[in-house]
């Protein structure tokens, strides 16, 4: 089962598609969650997910706005998609009946 931050990273990378790399994923996570994402947490999580086979990374092109430095590109593997879907399903299931869910199916006091 994925951790919360791992899920956020896979979802952000999947959403960015071919433009998924370190800075873009970090910006996406910060924009959607409103929380700060440190470089340390980002790259150690990318490594962990790659070790698990959920992400694939490679060094991409350098751009002038990055001072001519290469990007570390990220792609979600089919195994990563499956793990993210499992996490999402589990969160959805466990959230049924919670007071903050708009269309509750279960009964809550």
């Amino acid at each position: 089962m994925l951790g919360e931050f791992e899920y956020l990273m896979i979802t952000a990378a999947a959403g960015l598609g071919d433009n998924a790399y370190g800075a873009a994923i970090r910006e996406e996570i910060e924009a959607t969650t409103g929380r700060k994402c440190s470089i340390g947490a980002l790259y150690t999580t990318i490594d962990r997910l790659e070790t698990k086979g959920l992400l694939k990374t490679w060094m991409g092109d350098a751009t002038p706005q990055r001072g001519g430095r290469a990007k570390r590109m990220v792609r979600v593997t089919p195994k990563g998609v499956h793990a993210a879907k499992d996490f999402y399903d589990a969160v959805t299931r466990v959230s049924r009946g919670a007071s903050w869910v708009a269309n509750r199916t279960g009964s809550a006091p």
């Binding site: 370190g22 800075a23 970090r26 790259y43 150690t44 060094m59 706005q65 990055r66 430095r69 990007k71």
Partner: protein, 259 residues
């Protein structure tokens, strides 16, 4: 980001692997973070990387199981070898020791070979176990050396005779970094030779009741040689025993996951 601040960030980023350094510095430039934020980000990544290495047992074993205890004991043995050499060079000392020139030379030869064997195998194990945490193992090895060097007063020996073990140990570390595992037959031959060279020392010399037996200290220095046998055996069983020619059965480049 100011050039001065950026130079600090770049200096800190040198602690990262080359590709990761490129990606991280590029990300910081793209995000237009200030120098302090960039420095904090890079240092947090360096810290996380280092902490991840220490989750493994390997650097702990290399540092506290080999480097620290071995440097203490090998300094003592280096002193012993130096003293044997001095005894051979000085007729009065040779006469007092009840040794002949021939037997004294043999003792010195055995001691020198044992010192080289212990130091080399210890260094090899440290190099192979703690590739990316070698700085810590080095620190744990040199700290006792500096402590003893500052307090060493034995005339007519130079204080640097304590460090005779360093050269073969550094050679061993270099080999351990470069090569993953020894070929099984060579590892066994080395371990048996080192063990055999230890045996004459157990029957000679005065022993104090409060001191640990000589053989226990010798085994602290000897176990790296048998560790090489154990790891060589495992490599052999995977790849087929004796499958490669020469002293070594594998190169470091094949072991991408080792710390």
């Amino acid at each position: 980001m100011t050039s001065t601040g950026w130079s600090f960030v770049e200096a800190a980023a040198r602690l990262l692997a080359r590709d990761e350094r490129e990606a991280v510095l590029g990300d910081l430039l793209e995000a237009d973070e200030n120098a302090l934020q960039g420095l904090f980000g890079v240092l947090s990544l360096v810290f996380r990387r280092e902490a991840a290495l220490w989750k493994s047992w390997r650097p702990w074993l290399a540092g506290f199981g080999v480097a620290l205890p071995s440097s203490f004991l090998l300094m003592g043995f280096s002193l012993s070898v130096s003293w044997s050499y001095l005894t051979l060079r000085c007729p009065e000392l040779l006469q007092k020791s009840s040794l002949t020139l021939g037997s004294g030379s043999l003792v010195l030869l055995c001691q020198a070979l044992l010192l080289i064997g212990w130091s080399w195998t210890g260094g090899f194990v440290v190099g192979s176990l703690s590739r990316r945490t070698l700085w810590a193992s080095t620190l744990l090895c040199y700290s006792p050396c500096l402590f003893c060097l500052s307090r060493f007063r034995v005339d007519p020996l130079s204080r640097f005779c304590l460090l005779l073990f360093l050269l073969p140990a550094i050679w061993g570390v270099h080999q351990g970094l470069r090569i993953s595992r020894m070929k099984l037959s060579w590892a066994i031959a080395l371990a048996i030779t080192v063990t055999a060279l230890m045996l004459p020392g157990w029957s000679s010399g005065a022993h104090h009741w409060w001191a640990p037996p000589r053989w226990t200290l010798d085994w602290v220095l000897c176990w790296p040689a048998w560790y090489l046998v154990a790891t060589a055996r495992r490599a052999g069983s995977k790849a087929g025993l004796g499958g490669s020619d020469g002293l070594w059965s594998g190169h470091r480049e094949q072991q991408t996951g080792m710390s």
